[in-house]
Symmetry: C2
Subunit: 300 residues, 2 copies
């Protein structure tokens, strides 16, 4: 079944030990769509500026992403400059953020899109996430992501959204920030108590923890020894998870474990290239191949 | 087959948010023996002082640990005072270390012990580890552990021992410290290049990474939500790993995966009580029970 996601579409400029890579297609919704699109039809909801390169637009379109609700307005596209130091590739240093067209952005979708059953709130302001969610008629399954910035400055809004979500995805630092718990299991339980039935905590190079009332599990990350650019790894993970679940008839322990395996494998590809370079070219054959060796890697 | 290990026997004084716990039986060899002893006969090689409480000695003896080569000499028993802050239970703050009888300690073993096939060098000075290893006639399998202190001040000795070991166990910080690699997979590969065929990197609450030429794997930790005292978790892990392998006829991928599962489960028990309180009372029924839920927890 199809999937709709609100989030950012960005122009990323990334600095690593290898120098600058400029004008990359980035943003939470772009990474999410690329990954989820391997499993199901994805509708993207976002805003871009007049400066948004045609090649990026065509690229998303050619990848099969539905762009009917990507609004072009007068300002500049959301832009992010970030740096990764070689000693800590897991965490980005933000050099510059220009909100551009995201200032005052009000999501709009088509009447037909309001009936899409699977909904994902990729990382963007919680006010935008809520405005978008209100447009959806009767979603079957709602997943959400957020970031430390929103937890710090708009926590009540984040909490409100969590209460309306079935699945909450965060990283370990965010899980601790929301709940005040330093133990990750306790943090996951506390997140569950806020509302979402399913809780996923990403631990970067240490893999993922899944928690719900009936069971929990934890997988290590796929070992990548040449990390090029981790930007969007979390969004790629979310895309794999939501995309796989949207494709499945049932959400149960088996499909959730499998969804986390796919999500992990997809984000391992994402970090091996700048921007979307690696994930965009992926075939399901490549994905399934890596999935097999990953499953072997983590099976006791 | 039986197992012999050199290491420390200590008096631990542990400070946590719950206050002080004093005169606990501690030390790398004590924790190691308790865990390895669940699988096989363990011979302990160490030194204790005149002040060593009879109850601790009797306790080890009653647990079936062979103490023939635990030498009592005139000084004081090695003593360690450590603190765990609630916000970071994974890392101990050393408040005081008194080497006591370990100063100038020369390990001695019985003629019969020289033929024991399985050897473990638990954490103690690399000079002591080497002196002990030279006493062994023709060991079938040698495992070793060390710590940041020895890597910092006696790295060439640590390296020399690694070249004589089949299995090297370290934590992630030590693996990075020895190799200079920040990526854990690269660090594991670099450790393998130094000499030991089998490399285990413990990642605390993030589980364990195993590396050898033919395969590698990674398991998450068992989720413990009430960590009481993490002292000796690494030694307990090593004991489970070495003990299980000593019991098995063959060391292969299957037994190594199983050994890491047991090691993880045993160290999860260890952190739930002060000192040896929890591990000492364990039955294999309890261990196997937790093992089952752990395997379910990490199986994709």
């Amino acid at each position: 079944m199809s999937l709709i996601s609100v989030g950012t579409v960005a122009i990323d400029n990334i600095k690593t030990a290898q120098g600058w890579k400029r004008n990359l297609l980035g943003g939470s919704a772009s990474h999410f769509s690329m990954s989820a699109g391997l499993f199901t039809e994805v509708h993207l909801v976002s805003a871009i500026g007049k400066d948004f390169p045609k090649k990026h637009y065509d690229f998303l379109k050619n990848k099969g992403v539905d762009l009917s609700s990507v609004i072009e307005s007068g300002g500049k596209t959301f832009a992010w400059d970030g740096e990764y130091k070689p000693e800590n590739l897991n965490s980005a240093i933000t050099l510059k953020t220009e909100l551009g067209v995201l200032v005052g952005y009000k999501p709009q979708i088509t009447e037909k899109q309001r009936n899409i059953p699977n909904v994902f709130l990729a990382n963007i302001g919680p006010d935008v996430q809520m405005a978008f969610l209100k447009l959806m008629k009767n979603p079957k399954f709602v997943g959400m992501d957020t970031m430390n910035l929103w937890i710090n400055i708009m926590k009540p809004d984040v909490i409100k959204l969590m209460k309306k979500s079935d699945l909450f995805i965060s990283n370990d630092a965010e899980a601790k920030l929301i709940t005040g718990e330093t133990n990750l299991i306790k943090a996951a339980k506390a997140l569950r108590k806020i509302g979402p039935k399913l809780v996923v905590v990403k631990k970067g190079e240490h893999g993922v923890l899944f928690y719900c009332d009936d069971f929990m599990f934890s997988f290590g990350a796929f070992p990548v020894d040449k990390v090029v650019d981790p930007t969007g790894a979390g969004d790629t993970f979310a895309g794999g998870l939501m995309g796989y679940l949207a494709k499945m008839k049932k959400i149960n322990e088996r499909t959730l474990r499998q969804a986390c395996v796919y999500a992990t494998v997809l984000s391992s590809f994402n970090v091996e290239g700048y921007g979307l370079a690696k994930t965009a070219g992926l075939s399901m054959v490549e994905v399934d191949q890596r999935m097999k060796s990953y499953v072997k890697f983590i099976t006791p």
